[in-house]
């Protein structure tokens, strides 16, 4: 008998996770990441690596949930969540969630095969990542139907992004009229928002898991007072709480991928954001002075976690949604 309620990954899901990790290690490892992040002395050099984007697409990143008849992989949200978790772990830059949504909802030709990069504007005004690199912008302002517009149709000013790997623009005016965008029939805006939040939560989960590993690895190596700092309870307990945050978030992120429930997704986003941000903070603390340097990777996780926490569903929105459901 197959056991019911089962959080373990199937063999296929394990293989997908392993394959994704291998691809990202090879193609998007630490050296590549550090080259893209620059040395911190000037404006971030980061430009979206379009070749990498197409490789991710070839690996099925954006077409995972598309039916095979439409050129997709024919899998679902749980598999997408696993892949996004790996991307978050490796700090893959770019509007992954928006491009997946555009591909899956059939909003932008080329999104599925990685020839088109799609970013998102979730409010009438506000920050948009990778606007210059994007071919289309998915607009989800207000209660109107989701639509896509050309990046040039937005009034936007560049911002010196806190995350060196995620160039930002602040949009100060949307496309002149709603008619300026393409709004295909039958696309459910609430669903796009929910899935965008879930995929972002999955990336946050990946980052949270990675910073636990980084903190534990450092705590085992770094010696003070004649022993590894990880032998001290003060450090040990920081690391334990990091794992608690990660595993609590993981259980609800995976569950939300299965239930596709709006309230559960809000819980997933809220707890995954918190896990990513607070784990990065604690990881920085465990690294001591080294954690405060540009050279350490910790700040890249923290800055990305801050960026993602503001995307798709903010703390306030998630908490209000969860309160309303009571």
């Amino acid at each position: 008998m197959t056991p019911a309620v089962d959080f373990r990954l199937t063999d296929d899901q394990e293989a997908l996770r392993r394959g994704t990790r291998e691809l990202l290690d090879a193609r998007c490892g630490r050296d590549a990441l550090r080259r893209a992040a620059g040395d911190g002395s000037g404006p971030p050099p980061a430009r979206l690596d379009r070749a990498l984007w197409r490789e991710l697409a070839d690996a099925g990143f954006f077409a995972l949930a598309l039916p095979e008849a439409e050129g997709g992989v024919g899998l679902g949200l749980p598999e997408t969540v696993l892949v996004m978790e790996e991307a978050g772990r490796a700090l893959v830059p770019g509007p992954l969630a928006a491009s997946w949504l555009a591909a899956t909802a059939g909003l932008v030709p080329g999104a599925a095969d990685g020839t088109a990069v799609v970013t998102a504007l979730e409010r009438a005004e506000g920050p948009v990542e990778h606007l210059e690199a994007a071919d289309r912008v998915l607009v989800l302002d207000g209660d109107g139907p989701p639509r896509t517009v050309a990046p040039e149709s937005l009034r936007a000013e560049p911002v010196r992004s806190v995350d060196p790997l995620s160039p930002l623009h602040r949009v100060t005016g949307g496309p002149a009229t709603r008619a300026a965008g393409e709004a295909p029939e039958g696309v459910d805006g609430a669903r796009l928002r929910r899935e965008g939040a879930l995929l972002t939560a999955a990336q946050q989960l990946g980052s949270a898991g990675r910073t636990v590993e980084m903190a534990v690895g450092y705590a085992r190596e770094r010696e003070q007072f004649g022993q590894p700092i990880g032998a001290f309870q003060a450090v040990k307990h920081l690391c334990a709480e990091m794992l608690v945050r990660t595993e609590t978030a993981r259980s609800v992120v995976y569950a939300a991928a299965l239930t596709e429930d709006g309230t559960e997704t809000a819980a997933a986003k809220l707890l995954a954001d918190e896990a990513a941000v607070r784990n990065a903070r604690d990881c920085l603390q465990v690294h001591g002075g080294m954690g405060f340097t540009w050279e350490a990777d910790v700040h890249l996780h923290l800055k990305r976690a801050w960026l993602r926490a503001g995307q798709w569903q903010s703390v306030v929105t998630a908490e209000e949604k969860l309160a309303t459901a009571l």
Partner: protein, 391 residues
């Protein structure tokens, strides 16, 4: 990944739900919480009802008189009984969740025959004699001595935090049988009859004003050697089996209860106007996320236990229980802190007779009982994350 239930499990749930709907209205009124004999009678009456219906010892192995249910069925049982407002396990806790499973796993055939059926039928109550005044988190420091004298051990020492001691028939007792060897290797597990000469019980009053547990003083108490479960000096290993049970599924019903309580709190806040306070409202929303996640984490731990069982393991929940307990105990305390905000100082937050306030006081034990949060963090850091031992 799959959150669905099998048809067999759904059938189990339907049958149980129907039985609860039929049975619960006929139960006697709940006893006075300060009247221990009445509490014992009520809790054992419920156990007898479960026994007659075939639900006693659901998760116990079949050869121990249980139903050999899967961890998932046990989870469904705890979920449904909590939802229906059925009585808690109460005075049956130690017998059903600690001592019984330990005897089932480690006892001789004769010991199983002697002690297990009365636990299942609700005839006998067990209490736990593990902690001592000088052996709390550091349990292996326990000093209660047992000296062999013919067919008996002569036991002298004291135990503390013993729930249900006043009404218990038996105590699962940890004693030091060899003070000369490294401390984990000189401990034995005994079944102590609570009516033996030399046993004195002194109730301890909690900060909530109730007598939930007691000190037990042992003055040259004679315990037959035949009452030892497991080998002499092997009691530490025998005990670890028991503690794993405590940290595993013991909280399933409580997570379900917390979700219900949070709903009640939201209704209370809507009724008294506190809901309009965005800070408080969002705090309740956050708690909704906490208990949603904790429920999923519980299911996860149970599915892990189920897989371990299928692979031929014990089905004893693993260290994932520590991750759960850390988060759960904190969230539950936050729930009562939020309740105090909803009630306000004029609405019962300072009234010890108000149920929310009484429960708020009791909840202060959650981060201490069954392994303090600090000990749980050591367990997570050392056994899951592999950080070096040391202080």
């Amino acid at each position: 990944m799959d959150l669905g239930h099998t048809e067999e499990e759904e059938e189990f749930r339907r049958t149980l739900r129907a039985w609860l709907a039929k049975t619960l209205p006929g139960l006697p009124p709940k006893p006075d919480p300060l009247d221990w004999p009445a509490r014992r009678a009520y809790d054992m009456g419920w156990q007898r009802t479960l026994y007659d219906a075939g639900y006693a010892g659901l998760h116990w192995p079949k050869d121990a008189g249980g139903r050999g249910a899967t961890p998932t069925q046990h989870l469904i049982y705890l979920e449904e009984t909590e939802r229906a407002g059925a009585p808690y396990v109460g005075a049956g806790f130690v017998g059903l969740l600690h001592a019984g499973p330990t005897i089932a796993a480690e006892g001789t055939e004769e010991q199983r025959r002697r002690w297990l059926p009365p636990v299942l039928r609700g005839d006998e109550v067990w209490c736990q004699g593990f902690s001592e005044p000088d052996a709390g988190s550091d349990l292996a420091a326990l000093r209660t001595r047992a000296v062999r004298d013919g067919d008996d051990y002569v036991v002298t020492g004291s135990k503390i935090w013993t729930s249900h001691a006043e009404v218990a028939d038996w105590c699962e007792l940890l004693v030091r049988t060899d003070p000369e060897v490294p401390r984990h290797r000189g401990i034995s597990w005994l079944a102590l009859p609570m009516d033996a000469p030399g046993v004195t019980v002194r109730p301890l009053r909690t900060l909530a004003g109730t007598a939930e547990f007691a000190e037990v003083f042992l003055d040259e108490v004679r315990v037959p050697v035949a009452n030892r479960v497991g080998e002499e000096n092997d009691g530490w290993r025998v005990t670890m089996v028991t503690l794993s049970f405590e940290r595993g599924t013991a909280f399933v019903g409580e997570v379900v209860a917390c979700r219900r309580l949070l709903g009640e709190l939201a209704r209370a806040a809507r009724a008294n106007g506190r809901w309009d306070d965005a800070v408080l409202r969002r705090r309740l929303g956050r708690l909704n996320a906490e208990f949603t996640a904790l429920w999923r984490l519980t299911q996860w731990n149970v599915s892990e236990a189920e897989h371990a069982l299928r692979r031929g393991g014990t089905g004893v929940p693993g260290v994932g229980g520590s991750v759960f307990k850390l988060r759960y105990s904190q969230a539950r305390q936050e729930l009562y802190d939020a309740a105090a905000e909803v009630l306000g100082p004029d609405g019962g937050a300072l009234d010890a007779d108000e149920a929310w306030t009484a429960d708020r006081l009791s909840s202060l034990a959650y981060t201490i009982a069954a392994g303090t949060s600090q000990i749980q963090r050591n367990i997570v850091a050392e056994r899951i994350l592999g950080l070096p031992k040391g202080r």
